[in-house]
Subunit: 417 residues, 2 copies
């Protein structure tokens, strides 16, 4: 017997047949004597439809009214799931964001969840009723509807789990867990039983799109045990265990791996400024204006100074920001004093992630040697406490992921496993 | 300068282009210095879509959750109209049913409006902001979403107008006013400048589907001046005056007509029970069980007793209720003691309506003579203070409406008028 929050995404809620299947899955947990709250997304495609309405109405739409419009998608699915649950004998009711309420900031269209009133919620679930809560939406202090930004339902689920002090927050997705790497690249990738919040953050932010990054950060802060599992397994059978995302203290030494997974990200762009004057303040002249326009710079490499007293500076950004960055650097050319600007989007970032890494300095050298043996050139490097990332030529992405997966002993013993 | 409530139905809100056109129309009233609140329906077809979702989820859906689902349609259009108004320079915001709130009973799916808190609404509109209010929805005392039943947005508009003490409630529809009869049958039908609440109630309930009956009843009770006008006239031009629905005291003697209009209704079914025993209590044995099952009986005719001591009883009901009525009467056959049951759906009810009628007993005889002259047989009659209705064979509907329209002097002098 436990208190559980279950979260279902848009694909799981797309149409009444699927909502019925979700209801069956919820019924299993409820029949097992658990107290259950369910957080739901809008039907797949519905939020896009509503967002497009707003854009059509005005390209400069008022985010407060946008929130009124787009929050309706989750309102519909929460009512429908409550009906579907009742139809199979499970007492259920919907609790809209303003009804609980789920308090948020008033930064419309990207609000942050504050406090969630759980009194009614706890009373209802303790009384054996399933609470169905629309994800993505909340209430600002001024009484207006807010939404959390795209993908916000994961965050809603974790926030509700934290507020209810739930034993578990089960996120049903279209993958059945978190893998050591992308199984489409490496068939021998293994599903992880456990992964720490920190590792999940690195894996998510570098391209393993299983959970919204914000939701993982919140789970870490609030200590919510999150489980990622498949919504497409047989709804009538017991759910197959997915991947638990937990605090580091829960991963015991026996199962602790040096490296947990390999991630890749093809959305980076590399920019090189040549002949930047080699003097104090030159780098600040580059990155100051970029920071001012809100651009996130990821990796930075500065070569040793040329004999001419100048140096080349290379850094990476998200590809989507490239036009903005080129614009800024063009305007600042005289101030920075560089010669040429070269940019390249045919790059990929490969990251080796693992909490065990902290005490193992050899990880990085294994990485460089493995890549070097295959003739893969490392163009830039960054490291964090639990991650080493390198920038390579995009064409080598799959090869690099495969050889690193083998080099760190992550391959499953049997592809059938 | 006035305080105005404007109401737009689903056809007017069907898509962003039409919502933009509604915004233009609202802007006109606002630019004229009026304080404006707008009540909107969901996009045409949207409520059907949402109702179908509920039915698919469970034929015995919980009306409380049904309300959560279907109320979302008006939430979307109110947000979108606010955005469209802002886009053309009109300050606007949406006020959802629970935000004002619009208090209602807790009879979900057919709630009745109670009090409406107007403090925020009056402050906003007095400050020059247009208030956009989703029709059809409200808030029960237990904090749950309610809806008023299909077509409820007219009622919402009148209730808001009453609460705000608005000078006028303009209902934009796909007709440009209330006519003396259906212009498709009688090209010489005239648009009425004014009609009393009582007349409108009779015209609406007998088939002139311009306004929801409940909204007219509420307007009468609260003394709200309602104007029906076309939403399809040029949005940039000043709206052409439609039909004002007002209290009887506002219709002066000069313009008072004996008869205001002719309505017809083909949705009735006629039932005759033959050889019913002619004794006290026999009629009660028929209509008691029908009333118990909630069937509305409209006209009743009892022939004089046969020499055999029995009589034929004829009455009419709504066609949709025929299967239920046949079922009840079959079960009660022994108790009632009738011989045969004959039913006929090929009938039509023709009604002559007018407040002037009260002091003019000749109306009914003109009606019978006019129909008799054309060989149209009257099968049943009912009268109210401002109406005489007859039941005739359905095939004669159009002929009957035309000749009565002429007989009561309702024809326009010129079809171009």
């Amino acid at each position: 017997m436990a208190r559980i929050v279950m979260k279902f995404g848009g694909t799981s809620m797309a149409g009444i047949e699927r909502i019925r299947s979700v209801a069956q899955r919820v019924k299993r947990e409820w029949e097992a004597g658990n107290q259950v709250a369910v957080v739901v997304s809008a039907m797949a495609g519905e939020t896009d439809r509503l967002v497009n309405f707003c854009r059509e109405a005005s390209s400069l739409y008022d985010p407060r009214e946008y929130d009124v419009v787009v929050a309706s998608g989750e309102q519909v699915t929460s009512g429908l799931l409550a009906i579907a649950l009742q139809a199979i004998g499970v007492p259920a009711r919907s609790w809209l964001g303003w009804q609980l309420p789920i308090h948020t900031s008033d930064t419309h269209a990207s609000a942050r969840i504050g406090e969630i009133d759980t009194q009614a919620l706890l009373a209802a679930t303790a009384g054996g009723e399933v609470a169905v809560i629309p994800g993505f939406q909340g209430l600002a202090d001024n009484g207006r509807v807010t939404t959390l930004g795209r993908g916000g339902s994961d965050t809603s689920a974790v926030a509700v789990a934290a507020a209810m002090k739930a034993d578990r927050c089960d996120i049903y997705t279209d993958v059945d867990g978190v893998y050591t790497t992308d199984p489409r690249i490496v068939p021998r990738a293994r599903k992880l039983k456990r992964v720490t919040y920190e590792e999940m953050l690195e894996l998510a932010s570098v391209g393993a799109k299983v959970l919204q990054t914000r939701s993982v950060g919140l789970a870490m802060k609030e200590g919510v045990r999150v489980q990622v599992l498949s919504s497409f397994a047989d709804a009538d059978a017991a759910a197959e265990p997915g991947t638990m995302i937990v605090g580091e203290e829960e991963v015991d030494d026996m199962e602790r791996q040096l490296i947990t997974g390999i991630a890749h990200d093809k959305n980076e762009a590399k920019i090189t400024l040549t002949e930047v004057p080699d003097r104090p303040g030159a780098v600040a002249a580059i990155f100051g204006p970029l920071a001012d326009t809100g651009v996130n710079v990821d990796m930075i490499v500065q070569n040793v100074a040329h004999s001419t007293g100048s140096t080349d500076v290379t850094f990476t950004i998200n590809q989507a920001e490239l036009p903005r960055v080129l614009d800024v650097l063009d305007r600042e050319k005289a101030t920075i004093g560089y010669d040429r600007l070269v940019h390249d989007t045919r790059v990929a970032k490969i990251s080796v992630v693992g909490v065990g890494m902290r005490s193992h300095a050899g990880v990085a050298s294994t990485m460089f040697k493995t890549l070097g043996d295959r003739g893969i050139n490392v163009q830039a490097i960054t490291t964090s406490e639990i991650k080493v990332s390198v920038l390579i030529e995009e064409d080598y992405t799959e090869l690099a992921v495969r050889v690193l997966h083998t080099a760190y002993g992550l391959d499953a013993e049997d592809t059938a496993a």
